[in-house]
């Protein structure tokens, strides 16, 4: 990270007209991604352990489940996934637009501002300072800071587009644009609150209106923080790693517009069977089902891009990770619409099935595509051979088996809970009248989840060590560098 920006020039290269890209900021976001990713996943394994074995709450306020769970979600969403988005966006948009970022200072303000927000979150959440809205827990002064940093990012982002050297905007840029715009709208509208003290505030919305605004935000945080930027990354890195053109330009147009238009309606599926007006619930359900089409449009465009490169999927662990990632994207975007059907939701809501669904998307799609991009980027950014190429394959298998253990355990646990909560005996009474009896039956599944999540974490740690030793290793010879670029 210490090298000057001039190193991005790479004077050894044989291409004379190569623009001078700012890759230092990419390296900074890269490093932050790996560090926060391991921290966030570690907290995830800890809270999984707390559910399987309650003494792991340690009897301390700041280590109890209710305070660490938001720390886990914020760390993996905003620190890990957020930083990997920024890594990929800063790297790919400069190349796609054939220009350096508009303003290097803004890039650094964005980087350090975002990391400061993460540190502030890591301090305040265990102290119990929270607004309670899922994935929007951070207290209002941090919300203000997020807004400022996001605006800085947006100015730099659109400034870079304005000075681009190519006229046409590639598909990836559309998805990045939807990320920048939509997250700003969602964050500001959902965070509107009246402060009582520096750490305490009350939302301007009450009751079910507050619930609807939150789940409009919450669902689209998944849609526009964990889906559209990653689809953009897929559209850049998958064709590059496979060395194949994107399958269909027309499909990417259709599924982009359909996705950004339909996604925003789906929030109320988090409130099915609640006291939310029924028309709003039904709209949420119907649009969730329609979302299947554009989601699979993205999956198919990704998978079909690999046509003619499938032989390499067998041997190239980066492509393997990408294929598994896109497949999990397809699977979880099939599962989501199914769970949004009212009758299915009646069984699935409130259960571990939802947790399993989220993690098939988070670990399978977001995590796997992130790992693939990081492995693809590291040798190119630092101009070094990967220290342990074979570890990548080990990481792939640890992560894949870990995800399968996690999701299968959560499906089983969720179905069991859902069915036992509603089971009635012949007399029409509850078959399991004591709630905790059902919870205790989940224990084996909760342990399998700890093992699956633990395997996923071990893989991420191996990746971290691999990168650490890569960066500290010898530089590549100039010839190889020129070819690999």
């Amino acid at each position: 990270m210490g090298s000057s920006s001039a190193s991005a020039l790479q004077p050894e290269t044989s291409r004379p007209l190569r623009p001078i890209y700012d890759d230092d900021v990419v390296k900074m976001f890269f490093t932050a991604t790996v560090v926060w990713g391991i921290v966030g996943m570690l907290v995830g394994v800890i809270i999984a352990l707390q559910l399987a074995w309650w003494p792991a709450n340690l009897g301390l306020p700041w280590t109890s489940f209710g305070r660490l769970r938001p720390l886990h979600t914020n760390a993996v969403i905003f620190a890990f996934a957020g930083n990997v988005c920024f890594t990929g966006i800063y790297h790919s948009m400069q190349r796609l637009l054939k220009t350096r970022m508009w303003n290097d200072t803004l890039s650094r303000v964005h980087f350090w501002g975002w990391q400061a927000i993460i540190v502030a979150a890591a301090v305040t959440l265990p102290l119990g300072m929270t607004q309670s809205k899922e994935y929007a827990e951070l207290i209002w002064p941090i919300d203000v800071a997020i807004t400022v940093v996001w605006v800085v990012f947006a100015i730099n982002f659109f400034g870079t587009i304005a000075i681009r050297k190519v006229e046409h905007l590639y598909v990836a840029i559309w998805f990045y644009m939807s990320f920048v715009i939509t997250i700003a709208v969602l964050h500001i509208v959902n965070s509107l609150a009246i402060p009582a003290t520096w750490t305490l505030s009350y939302p301007i919305y009450a009751g079910l209106t507050d619930a609807l605004v939150q789940w409009w935000y919450g669902h689209n945080a998944v849609g526009f923080f964990l889906t559209t930027p990653f689809l953009g990354l897929m559209y850049y890195y998958l064709p590059r790693a496979a060395d194949r053109p994107v399958y269909s330009y027309r499909l990417s147009i259709i599924h982009f517009w359909a996705l950004v238009f339909l996604y925003i309606w789906a929030g109320p599926h988090h409130l099915l069977y609640s006291a939310l007006p029924e028309w709003a619930q039904t709209l949420g359900m119907v649009f969730s089902i329609m979302l299947l089409a554009p989601s699979w449009g993205g999956m198919l465009n990704g998978l079909l891009t690999l046509r003619g490169a499938w032989d390499r999927v067998r041997t190239d662990p980066i492509l393997k990770m990408m294929v598994v990632a896109v497949s999990f994207y397809g699977m979880s975007t099939f599962e989501g619409p199914m769970m949004s059907i009212r009758a299915v939701n009646g069984l699935a809501h409130y259960t571990n099935w939802v947790i399993g669904h989220v993690h098939s998307g988070a670990l399978g799609w977001v995590g796997m595509i992130s790992f693939a991009i990081l492995y693809w980027l590291a040798p190119r950014l630092w101009n070094r051979e990967l220290a342990h190429p074979k570890w990548v394959d080990t990481h792939f298998w640890l992560a894949t088996i870990g995800i399968v253990l996690y999701t299968v355990a959560m499906w089983a646990a969720g179905l069991m809970e859902g069915l036992q909560w509603r089971a009635l005996n012949e007399a029409g009474q509850l078959a399991n009248p004591i709630f905790v009896d059902i919870t205790t039956r989940l224990e084996p599944f909760l342990w399998i989840r700890v093992i699956g999540g633990g395997m996923y974490l071990v893989g991420a740690v191996m990746m971290g060590i691999n990168f650490w030793q890569t960066i500290r290793g010898p530089r590549r010879p100039a010839e190889a560098a020129a070819q690999a670029a």
């Binding site: 009897g59 938001p70 119990g128 300072m129 053109p245 330009y249 009646g346």
Partner: protein, 255 residues
Amino acid sequence: MSENETRHDTTPAGETPSGVSESAYGAWHRRVLEGRAGLFAVATAVAISIGGLVEIVPMFTATDMGVGEDMPITPYTPLEVAGRDLYVREGCYLCHSQMVRPMRSEVLRYGEWSRAWEYRYDRPFLLGSRRLGPDLHRIGGKYPDAWHYEHMRDPRSTSPGSIMPAYSWMLERTVDPEVVTKSLRALQKVGHPYVDVTEENVRGSMEAQGRRIVENLRSTGIESRWDTEIVAMIAYLQRLGSDGKAVLSGGSREE
């Protein structure tokens, strides 16, 4: 669009998978949209705004949203506000929902299903998304104060097999009427009808309600103080869903 042209758009030539050159500007949508970043951004902003506007705006403007302005729901007392903030601080909502669904099994297990108007003074909403423990919307009045005290001190003493963490620090820590006063003033600004919000009044209200709970606890041999967090928590839990329950069991059923 010819096959050749399609390939030209999307070939990963060198650093850009698009590999688009100026000559590739054929299709209308490229000239109109994909080369004009400002217009593209505006179109995206419009596309992502429609759904939210259609779903959210009626919640503010329509009158038939079941908010029930005429329903006898009163705001939380100062001590209950303090307890509710503790419920938020400890993340109780991450394992306990506050929404009984209109299903036979839920009504049997928890009681009356939840109505929209019951949440009129819920800021933030605490419907929850997960039931690692049971729903709490009808917990008010279900158990004596002492049960809650023991349950928070050691969940397994009242619910054998529970996986809930103990919240023993709530037995010692105290709530601050000064902070609660600030909370009530903030809530006033968004329309909660509190009157005469001064620190003395808030403290007096909290002390009066807290002492009643302390008396209840003392009758079972538990010594506590009115300003402890556990007392505020008990006040909130005992209030939960009870306004709605009173209405729903009082003959003024909606249906």
